[in-house]
Symmetry: C2
Subunit: 428 residues, 2 copies
Amino acid sequence: MNIQLLLTGNELMNGDVVDSNSAMVADELKQLGLQIQRKVTVGDAMDVLVEELQHLSKSADMLLVNGGLGPTTDDLTAEALAQLCGVALAEHPEARAHLQHWADTRGLVLNAANLKQAMLPAGARVVPNSRGTAVGFAMHHNNCEIICTPGVPHELRAMLNETIVPQLDGQVSEAQKLLLNRYHTFGQGESNLQQWIADKLPDFPAEVELGFRAGAPTLEVKIQTPAQLADIHQQACQQLTALIGDYIVAQESGSLAATLIDELKRRNQTITFAESCTGGLISAMLTAEPGSSAVFEAGFITYANRIKSQLVGVNPADLEQHGAVSEPVVRQMAEGALAASGADYVAAVSGIAGPEGGSEEKPVGTVWIAWGSTGNIHTARLHYPYRRKMFQTMVAGAALDLVRREIMNIDSAPRYLKDRQHPVTKIR
Amino acid sequence: MNIQLLLTGNELMNGDVVDSNSAMVADELKQLGLQIQRKVTVGDAMDVLVEELQHLSKSADMLLVNGGLGPTTDDLTAEALAQLCGVALAEHPEARAHLQHWADTRGLVLNAANLKQAMLPAGARVVPNSRGTAVGFAMHHNNCEIICTPGVPHELRAMLNETIVPQLDGQVSEAQKLLLNRYHTFGQGESNLQQWIADKLPDFPAEVELGFRAGAPTLEVKIQTPAQLADIHQQACQQLTALIGDYIVAQESGSLAATLIDELKRRNQTITFAESCTGGLISAMLTAEPGSSAVFEAGFITYANRIKSQLVGVNPADLEQHGAVSEPVVRQMAEGALAASGADYVAAVSGIAGPEGGSEEKPVGTVWIAWGSTGNIHTARLHYPYRRKMFQTMVAGAALDLVRREIMNIDSAPRYLKDRQHPVTKIR
């Protein structure tokens, strides 16, 4: 099935908005084994829209149009589709009823701008919108199903899940569908992982496709297999998790922080952080997740040396002798945070985020991390030669991952501890 | 000038990568008064690429092709352009020399994959790439200048700034260019600001275009005027800043946190934070900026009640009587953080980030903020009815903005303090 996408909106053309809707559509179609063949983006101009609808509908079996359903005069999609199909706009009872219901439940009165959203091409089929005022609508033209959808992301997502994907599902053979598993990994880059898999899994089934999506601090690895090969898919998932399982920090819609919270909750234990170079980011990453209050009570942002001594009891003599970015200091930060908070686990970091503050011995990107529990503190020196914000993100990821490994009793010497021990020259 | 954009890459079609390059190109062209008329994205397939190049070059004066210049067999742009123009691929001396220089400076030997990047359509003009191995190249076809550029964002940006924009600059009349000023605002939504400007500036010059780009926690407002109307542009900037100046937290590439750091540095003063519901995010936003160590020494993440007493001296009786989300508690958090850190300024927050923990009296989204200096602490109750991460982001923004207003002696009762005092039902 040839599926194409037409995105409309001046804000998509002038650089004010980055389009994430098309990635969402591609992701939703993937499970059906479907992909988008072409996507075209144009501004809000009637002649351009009609011409593009005509052009794309000639080669597509299904054309998804996204955007331009709103109440303002810039929103031209219904009018453009009517022109294309040579029909008039007409008030559509189903759309009108939807708008009326929407207004009634909010105690509002529909105005002229609202009512414009019930004016659809004559003969169009309504596609329900469970999240907003603008219904979607569909027409046939040039032997192509043209479906117009709202630009608001959560409205589009609901329409895909509730109507469009189920409709497509009925048109796709089981053989065409894909099985898809997602693994979020920390600590290995894409090229490293690819090489590793190629070296260690020479018999990895050829029917299985591996995909990678770079995030920060994690990297998503996807396993995709034709749905009729369920055994092979399962086998590939087992092979991969056996090989890189240590580096998998979450699956599907999970996250590193959510995994850590779940593991701590299960053990009825708590965690604390003492942060210098990350300035609160580790704690912020943990507390961005719902439920974090069950496992996190206190965090110490000890940016200045004086505060490292005052809040978490670092010996001023060690600060003087070894500097803030040193093993003794980060160890004492961890021990002090444990003592002050009464938490079961800790991570502490002290490093040089840059752009200033580096030296030959300790270049920008150097960080000391300490993690563990009372009487069982580990330390490591790492080097993340990235720009300031990426450095902070990766250090926060490493701190969370090292505690995760400790708590779950997973290999406490992952490759990245060794690989990143010494400064390298690469600056990303 | 009709400029179009062709983006290539399977990763752009399958949802693995969100395209931000086209927004970058649009932004760079804006200053010349130029915009992209159409952008098309296709996967890595030769026939599709050649067909699309043919189709777009018929209507465009300039076609920017982005992606597909790499060393792998998926990278088809040079071959596609050669097919389109009916010429062969040939090793281009300038491209070869660029690759050789790149390898020499890194002590590397060029391999076959590298050398593929010197094979360009015969007769192509090289467009230098100062940041990577893949040179760009340009050809004329269908009376259209086709320029092929690398997909790596920082390579594309350099090529735009160093070659493509200067080249276009010579083809654009001064009259066509735009003057552009950007203001980052906090505290007013786009529709509020638009209404306000419409009401208060009825004589705002019609030749000046206002643009908005939603961010979190700030909203960017752009003023664009044809370059020959420099006086009118300046007048519009003055009118706007006179009206909404209080809400402008940074200009051009600045940020709210960077402004706060600059103001504190100038006064040789420091700041601290006591954070409950934001869990470290306020401190993380400040320390994400270079230079923050000059003004920030300590942060207190007091997530649990016990820690609020222990770290920043909140009276347990007040926690018991008023609850953690209350005026007395947040005021004592602020006073305690000032005392413990010795900082000159403080912000403290305690709220209900959700999704759990709300009550009828204090629904999810409620937050108490305290800010000021020793002996001069202000407090306010606000309501941000958003999802957890957006709530945290907006609360952090409000904390930073309220301190900014205090330090700079700007109106300490901005509209949002009043507008957001009481819970509203809208959930975004």
